[in-house]
């Protein structure tokens, strides 16, 4: 598995974590070739997760765009309500294989925490989830879900009290309990091998898009669109299509209109080291990590997976930032046009996809990964509408 994507990636971690990262790397390399492990993973993806998720033609949303056809990859229908299940299941099975009885995770929107709690319960592993108190307040339904699923939610009161600080707290826990604990990192970020491991586990999204779009309209889409927080649903969408001519569009959170950086690490950040890998980071000139802001907790992160940094630099993918107000508008479009309440994270991607559709002829096809459903965000959306 690649340790670097061009100059990006690597493993900038305290030595205490190196044995665990090496063990994870070895475990994944042997598991991915093991028919028994793959069989178990596939079976649980279907029977517990509900895969494959459908590819849906959004006819009325397409009409709104008055251009290219818009199709939705329905990861919002996956067990738990987001793509996070794909990764949590795979890493949970790896934890069992490595004999680790305890899972820890960070969560921003709460979706990764919920997915980890579900897998922890299903596999009989003790589960503790770190979550910033700002996020606990704005994603309360998910806090309750995690608790009902038997996980302990540990509030994080440091720093900006959001996703970045939850990752710091999880890393400190891991440094302390590394022999008994697997850190089930929720995005394609962090030290090697996480960016590669998470990308491979999320690639089921792109593989299904490849198969389903051939069946639905006889060829590959012209462009695929996905939101980028740490970048896991996006890399899972892009990866299996990387040697085709399909265009990639990643959508970051621009934050409230007028905010200096939002959470758009690729657009407004500089290369640096955050949470164990070298990638784009929102930071000041002393290398201190910047305070981010976004209406969506899952995109509110100052870093991004290293493979996206590489895709950006090489021009293989384009990245744009979408503001809070635009994401909210797209939330309502999808609700009213298609009867689907999206999570605020993929609402960013929906906005960018509609804008993209306007610029493209009707014969072109856009596939957007609808990474999660919106139940968790109703409070935020209703408050914003007032």
């Amino acid at each position: 598995m690649p340790r670097r994507f061009g100059p990006y990636g690597g493993a900038y971690v305290p030595e205490t974590l190196v044995p665990a990262l090496e063990e994870l790397d070895r475990a994944w390399r042997s598991a991915r070739r093991d028919p028994e492990f793959r069989g178990e993973l596939g079976r649980l993806q279907r029977t517990l997760g509900g895969r494959p998720t459908p590819l849906y033609f959004a006819k009325r949303l397409t009409r709104r765009g008055r251009g290219a056809e818009i199709w939705l990859k329905r990861e919002d229908l996956l067990h738990g309500g987001a793509h996070k299940f794909n990764n949590a299941l795979g890493q949970g099975l790896l934890a069992v294989r490595m004999g680790k009885p305890r899972l820890i995770a960070e969560t921003g929107a709460g979706q990764h925490g919920v997915a980890t709690a579900m897998i922890g319960a299903a596999l009989g592993l003790e589960t503790e989830v770190y979550m910033g108190t700002v996020d606990m307040a704005r994603q309360r339904p998910n806090v309750e879900r995690m608790r009902l699923l038997g996980a302990r939610v540990i509030p994080v009161r440091e720093g900006s009290r959001t996703l970045k600080d939850a990752i710091n707290a999880a890393l400190r826990d891991w440094i302390t309990n590394v022999r008994t604990t697997h850190y089930l990192l929720g995005s394609a970020v962090g030290p090697h091998p996480f960016p590669t491991l998470v990308a491979e586990l999320q690639s089921v999204i792109g593989r299904e898009i490849r198969r389903q779009s051939r069946r639905a309209f006889g060829r590959l889409p012209d462009v695929v669109v996905a939101c980028v927080g740490g970048g896991s649903n996006a890399i899972g969408t892009f990866h299996p299509l990387r040697s085709t001519s399909v265009e990639f569009l990643g959508v970051e959170a621009g934050g409230p209109k007028g905010h200096r950086v939002g959470a758009a690490s690729l657009e407004r950040g500089l290369p640096g080291v955050l949470h164990g890998s070298y990638s784009y980071v929102l930071q000041d000139r002393n290398g201190q990590v910047a305070a981010t802001e976004s209406i969506s907790a899952g995109l509110d992160y100052p870093g991004v997976g290293p493979e996206h940094a590489y895709l950006k630099d090489t021009g293989r993918a384009r990245y744009v930032a979408v503001h809070d107000e635009e994401a909210l508008a797209a939330f309502h479009w999808l609700a009213e046009d298609e009867g689907i309440l999206p999570a605020l994270e993929p609402a960013h991607a929906i906005f960018a996809a509609v804008r993209e559709a306007r610029r493209r002829p009707a014969k072109e096809r856009i596939v957007v990964t609808l990474s999660g459903r919106g139940d968790k965000d109703l409070e935020v959306v209703i408050r914003a509408a007032r």
């Binding site: 340790r3 690597g10 030595e15 710091n168 302390t176 201190q288």
Partner: protein
């Protein structure tokens, strides 16, 4: 005096070395020279001057809070260089910083600047052996010792490679956990690690840090055969508690006087 010379001489003389971690904080500027002198008078061998970082993942609550306070006071790179000029005239000094501030400044430029301000050592807690080659090269070019960290749980083979690549001393992390406090996980027998490091790099002093906080823990730590200890969180606590340099000196003396307990 240089960091490497000071620690090597002490090892040759079988004199345990005490290294103290001091975080740069703009609000502390006026006290720094007094603190460094008290450290020297109390018997410290060197100072590890910490540059604050917004995401100090290897630090426990005590030092993490100190990093946050320092940044809230507006501490920046120029403050590091100012403090370094003061402290390095009093004791051999290493800079300790997470990787990103160096990356942002530019590795070569950053190390050139700290070297110019008197640093003879550099410690980067989130730098694994695999990522260290460019840092080692840049440090060598500016006559700065890049001190590598080793941790419990790593293989003998890896520990030997780290010991051979480290300069100035080998920083052996004393427990599973972050800086400060007692280990939450089980305590580790460090004797085999110290012996392996000495076997791999016979000239290189081995110092143990993370969790050493008083004379008792220092004695216990030195019993592993280590050449010295690093004290961070407890020193930070001491500085914050007392205003007088004499009580700082007293704290330092109590640990510096520690010898291996058997």
């Amino acid at each position: 005096m240089r960091l490497d010379d000071a620690l090597r001489d002490a090892r040759a003389a079988h004199r345990p070395s005490l290294v103290l971690y001091l975080l740069v904080d703009r609000a502390r500027r006026a006290r720094v020279s007094g603190i460094a002198r008290a450290a020297r008078d109390g018997g410290a061998a060197a100072i590890e001057l910490g540059f604050p970082f917004s995401e100090p993942i290897a630090d426990g609550p005590e030092l993490a809070a100190a990093h946050a306070r320092s940044l809230a006071h507006g501490t920046g790179w120029p403050d590091l260089l100012d403090t370094l000029r003061v402290v390095s005239r009093i004791l051999p000094t290493a800079v300790m910083t997470y990787a990103n501030p160096l990356v942002r400044r530019g590795l070569d430029r950053a190390i050139d600047e700290i070297s110019g301000a008197g640093a003879t050592g550099l410690i980067v807690p989130d730098l694994s052996l695999e990522e260290s080659p460019p840092y080692r090269a840049a440090a060598r070019a500016h006559a700065v010792c890049l001190v590598l960290l080793a941790a419990p749980g790593i293989s003998t083979e890896r520990l030997s490679r780290i010991a051979r690549a480290s300069r100035g001393f080998l920083y052996l992390v004393g427990h599973y956990g972050t800086t400060g406090g007692a280990a939450r996980g089980a305590t580790v027998d460090l004797r085999p690690s110290v012996a392996e490091a000495h076997a791999a790099a016979p000239q290189l002093p081995v110092l143990i840090g993370f969790g050493v906080r008083d004379a008792i823990s220092a004695r216990r730590t030195l019993a592993t055969g280590a050449d010295g200890v690093v004290v961070g969180s407890a020193f930070e606590r001491c500085i914050n508690r007392t205003a007088t340099t004499s009580s700082v000196a007293r704290f330092v003396r109590s640990i510096a006087a520690a010898r291996a307990s058997t």
